[in-house]
Every structure is written in structure tokens, then in C-alpha cells.
């Protein structure tokens, strides 16, 4: 066992931690908030209010 072997195990451990955060937070958000709110983003909203196309 040298430092590279420890780095390999460390990389696996960190990968699991990051992956677990992503999944747990995704599930938490999806079960806490209403799906209609989460998918309420609209493309034109910003454009219409802030970047009016006037010559």
C-alpha cells in the first residue's frame, strides 16, 4: 500500500459522498416542494421584463 492506493480509496469515498449529496438533496427537494413550482420556469419571463426589444 502506497500513497496512490490511499488516493484511490479516497477518490471512491469522495465520489460516494458527492453522489449521495446529489441524490439525497434531489429527493428532499422533490418531496418538499410542489412540482408545479419547481417546473414553473418560463423562457420568456426574463426577456420580456428586462430586455425589451425597442429600436
Amino acid at each position: 500500500m502506497d500513497i496512490w492506493n490511499f488516493l484511490e480509496y479516497g477518490a471512491w469515498a469522495l465520489s460516494v459522498i458527492f453522489g449521495a449529496f446529489l441524490l439525497i438533496d434531489l429527493i428532499r427537494v422533490d418531496t418538499t416542494y410542489d412540482n408545479d413550482l419547481l417546473t414553473s420556469s418560463r423562457e420568456g419571463e426574463i426577456e420580456a421584463t428586462q430586455e425589451r426589444h425597442t429600436i
Binding site: D2, W4, L7, E8, Y9, A11, W12, L14, S15, F18, G19, F21, L22, L23, D25, L26, V29, Y33, N35, L37, L38, T39, S40, S41, R42, E43, G44, E45, I46, E47, A48, E51, R52, H53, T54, I55
Partner: protein, 465 residues
């Protein structure tokens, strides 16, 4: 729950955060691309020699300058997440938009996988140099993807500020190597004798074949427009960031060719895995070696980071318009990122990174990118015809129209021919994939699209309609 749009006239909405400036746009575009200076471009030299490598560098530079100019004009007007997908939706039509969205997601996800493979390869090289053989690359490949996905999940400002720092370091490393060589820090002098002794070892066909790999110098600069919905002033920031990005890349590409071709014999350079790092090793200066290794790792991470950002925005936009299941069109209530799209694309990137060879992954990425550039040509013509300059306000108007469009189309055709010479089977397989996907979209998916809601730009009616 902070920052949720809510006023008396409108229902409560979650939007992506507008927090980015021109420097972040620059970091996004250059970040995706700069890894191409550190590796990959040099196969152009292997295909046609030193002169062919330089011709490929500048011809591809011309192609991408056209891309940057065209993209800057259209995206400063169609300032929406999804970039070229949103452009295609507003200017050409739904089927084109669906295909362009797929081009983007495939190009960026494949490039992300290629970058993760490269991280593993680089660490394996370093482990070998320290006497450790047989390093398992998989944990580092997985970690690179998981860490960057986590960073993207947590917010766009932190993600692209991180990119800004590491891209600046990687670009500075190239400049430092150049000046160090000029001021005598290298044990080996620059030698360009092969330019006169073997100018074109494989003739003019070598130049055509090398064009494929010349694209590596700049592939992905068009990704700047994916940030359109998250920059504070898209009409100003996107053209600034994109044009500054292509200028940075033209400088970096030319410096890279000059240093590597002068220090490394072209026969070796044409097959090198990490040409800039190898050039630093040739100088015999340990500090330059360390700096260029850091530059290589940073450039690779910056590219993967930008790719996750861009692929998720394109996927999110397609979900938001119901081109894909609407589940993907969700915004995180706290971090304000397209979190479901980010998470969904992680396993896809992992499958390609762990299960596919690097050259195949990169070729599919380049082919998807080329299809996207070809789309830009007629997209630009249709944009100017339907909405002439005096009908809608543009943040940037590109000069000499339609000359850049014509040049771009000619160069794209040449690049397709060059790719066909080396990867004809992959080209045909890719076309079949997009044809089948188009049939699925037309006959199955389009019924779910909210046809009226998807056209959101407050523009006048197009001319001729």
C-alpha cells in the same frame, strides 16, 4: 425560500439566477476549449506534418471566428438557456430545435466524458513517474465527474468563478512557457528545420486530413450562449465574453503550435498524449514541468465543468418546452440550477467515461459539434431574412454578412470530408442516430409540446409571414 419571482400580477415562479458577468462567459467558453490546446490538436501534425498543423490551426480559427461572430449576434437577441437550441426553436422550427438540442447535449456530455478519461490518464502518468505502476484510473474518473456535477448543482456563480480561476491559471501557464522559452529557460533551442525539409510529408491531402484535429483548438467556444439566461446583461456580456474568448484561443493556439513544433520532432508530436506538458519536459526545467502539469489538469477540469453546465442547460430547456419530459425542466428552489438535468446526465457521462475508448468519444463529440455549426449557417441567413436589422434590437451585429456564413459552410463541408476520411463509419452511425431520434420526435413526442408557449421572444411578426 429566497429569490422566488413573485409579484401581484404573476404567479410564483422559479427562474435561473442572473448573476454572471462577461468574465464568467469568457471562462465558460475558453474553459470548455482550452484543454484542446493541451492535447488532441497535435494529431493534426501527425496527419499532415508541421505546416498542415499550422494551416489546420488557422483554418479552424477562421471557422470558429465565424461561429463566434454569428453566435454573438443571434444569442445576444435570443437570450435564453439552451443557446443554439433556443435559437433554432425561434428561427427555424421545432424539429431543427430538437436536433440542435441533441447535438448540444451529445457534444458536451461526450466531451465531459473525454475530459474525465484524460484526468485518469494524467494521474496514471504521474503515478508512473513516481514509481507506482498500474494505477486504477476509475476512481479518479468517477470523482472528477461527481465533484463537478456537485459543484454545478450548488450554483452557477460558484461553478463559473471556479472555472474563471482555473482557466486563468491554465492560459497563464501557456504564456509563461512561451516567454520562458523566448528568454532562454529551455535547454533545447527551437528547431523549425522540418518546415523546410519536410513541409508536407503527406501532400495536400494531409492538410485536409489534419483539419479534423485542428477543430480541437476551438471546439466548444459556442458554449458561451448557454449562459444566456444567467448573465446580468445578455446583450452586452455574451458578445464580449464570446469575442474575447475566441481572441484568447487564437493566441493560445498559435503559441501552442509554435512552442510544440519548435521543441518536439513532428513525428513524435503527431502522436503525443500531452504535447504542451511534453514540451515543458523537453525544456528540462522542473518548474515549467510542474506548471504545465497543473495547467493540463486545470484545463481538463475546466472543460468538464463547462460541459456539465452547458449540457444540463440544453437538456433543461428541452424539458421546459416539453420536447423532453417536463420533469427535466425543474429549477432548484435554493440553488436555482437545473438540478434534475444535472443529476440525470451524470450516469450517462459515467457510462461513456468508463466504457468507451477516448478517440470514439471525442469523435462523436466533434461530429455533433460540426452538425451544430452547419445549422448555424442557414440559421443566420433565416434570422437576417425574417428579422432584418431595423426590425429588432441586437446586442451585437456581425460585419460582412453573409460572408462569414458562406465561409463557415465551406469550412464545415471540408471538415465533414476530413472526418469522413478517418471516421466514416462513426459519421454514418451518428447520422442514423439523429434520423431515428427525429422520427421519434416527429411522430411521438411533438404531440406533448405546448406549441404556443414555446415562442417567447417579444419580436414583431417575421417578414413574409
Amino acid at each position: 425560500m429566497a429569490n422566488i419571482t413573485n409579484d401581484a400580477a404573476k404567479p410564483e415562479r422559479l427562474q435561473l439566477l442572473r448573476v454572471l458577468g462577461p468574465a464568467h462567459v469568457w471562462a465558460l467558453g475558453v474553459g470548455i476549449v482550452l484543454v484542446g490546446e493541451y492535447m488532441g490538436w497535435n494529431f493534426a501534425v501527425g496527419k499532415g506534418g508541421m505546416i498542415a498543423g499550422l494551416v489546420a490551426c488557422w483554418v479552424a480559427g477562421l471557422l470558429y471566428t465565424c461561429v463566434a461572430m454569428i453566435d454573438s449576434e443571434v444569442t445576444s437577441t435570443v437570450a435564453a438557456a439552451g443557446g443554439q437550441y433556443a435559437q433554432a426553436k425561434h428561427i427555424v422550427g421545432p424539429l431543427m430545435a430538437f436536433n440542435v438540442g441533441l447535438f448540444l447535449v451529445m457534444a458536451y456530455t461526450m466531451l465531459e466524458a473525454a475530459n474525465a478519461i484524460t484526468v485518469g490518464f494524467l494521474l496514471d502518468t504521474v503515478a508512473g513517474m513516481t514509481g507506482h505502476s498500474g494505477l486504477h484510473q476509475q476512481p479518479f474518473i468517477v470523482l472528477a465527474i461527481m465533484f463537478l456535477a456537485w459543484l454545478n448543482y450548488r450554483g452557477v456563480l460558484a461553478t463559473l468563478t471556479f472555472n474563471l480561476v482555473i482557466v486563468a491559471v491554465a492560459f497563464t501557464a501557456i504564456c509563461v512557457l512561451f516567454f520562458a522559452i523566448q528568454f532562454g529557460a529551455s535547454n533545447v533551442p527551437l528547431d523549425f528545420s522540418a518546415v523546410t525539409e519536410e513541409p508536407l510529408p503527406y501532400g495536400w491531402l494531409g492538410i485536409v486530413a489534419s483539419l479534423h484535429f485542428g477543430l480541437w483548438y476551438y471546439l466548444g467556444i459556442e458554449g458561451t450562449c448557454q449562459a444566456a439566461e444567467e448573465v446580468r446583461s445578455p446583450a452586452r456580456s455574451l458578445p464580449y465574453g464570446t469575442m474575447a474568448g475566441i481572441m484568447t484561443l487564437l493566441i493560445a493556439a498559435t503559441l501552442t503550435w509554435y512552442m510544440c513544433s519548435g521543441l518536439i520532432p513532428w513525428e513524435y508530436l503527431g502522436q503525443a498524449g500531452t504535447p504542451l506538458f511534453d514540451a515543458a519536459r523537453v525544456t528540462g526545467n522542473v518548474w515549467l514541468m510542474v506548471l504545465l502539469f497543473i495547467g493540463t489538469i486545470f484545463a481538463t477540469l475546466a472543460s468538464a465543468n463547462g460541459c456539465i453546465n452547458d449540457a444540463s442547460r440544453a437538456w433543461f430547456s428541452m424539458g421546459r418546452d416539453r420536447y423532453l419530459p417536463s420533469w427535466f425542466g425543474a429549477v432548484h428552489p435554493v440553488y436555482r440550477t437545473p438540478y434534475r438535468s444535472i443529476v440525470f446526465l451524470v450516469p450517462i457521462a459515467l457510462i461513456f467515461a468508463l466504457g468507451a475508448p477516448l478517440d470514439q468519444v471525442v469523435t462523436f463529440s466533434i461530429l455533433s459539434g460540426l452538425l451544430g455549426y452547419t445549422f448555424m449557417t442557414f440559421n443566420m441567413v433565416m434570422f437576417r431574412r425574417k428579422w432584418p436589422l431595423d426590425t429588432i434590437k441586437r446586442g451585437y451585429v456581425h460585419p460582412f454578412h453573409p460572408l462569414p456564413t458562406i465561409i463557415l459552410l465551406i469550412l464545415c463541408s471540408s471538415a465533414f470530408f476530413a472526418v469522413f476520411l478517418g471516421y466514416g463509419t462513426q459519421l454514418i452511425a451518428m447520422m442514423c442516430f439523429y434520423i431515428i431520434a427525429s422520427l421519434w420526435f416527429h411522430f411521438r413526442r411533438y404531440q406533448y409540446v405546448r406549441r404556443g408557449d414555446q415562442f417567447t421572444m417579444p419580436w414583431p411578426r417575421p417578414q413574409g409571414y
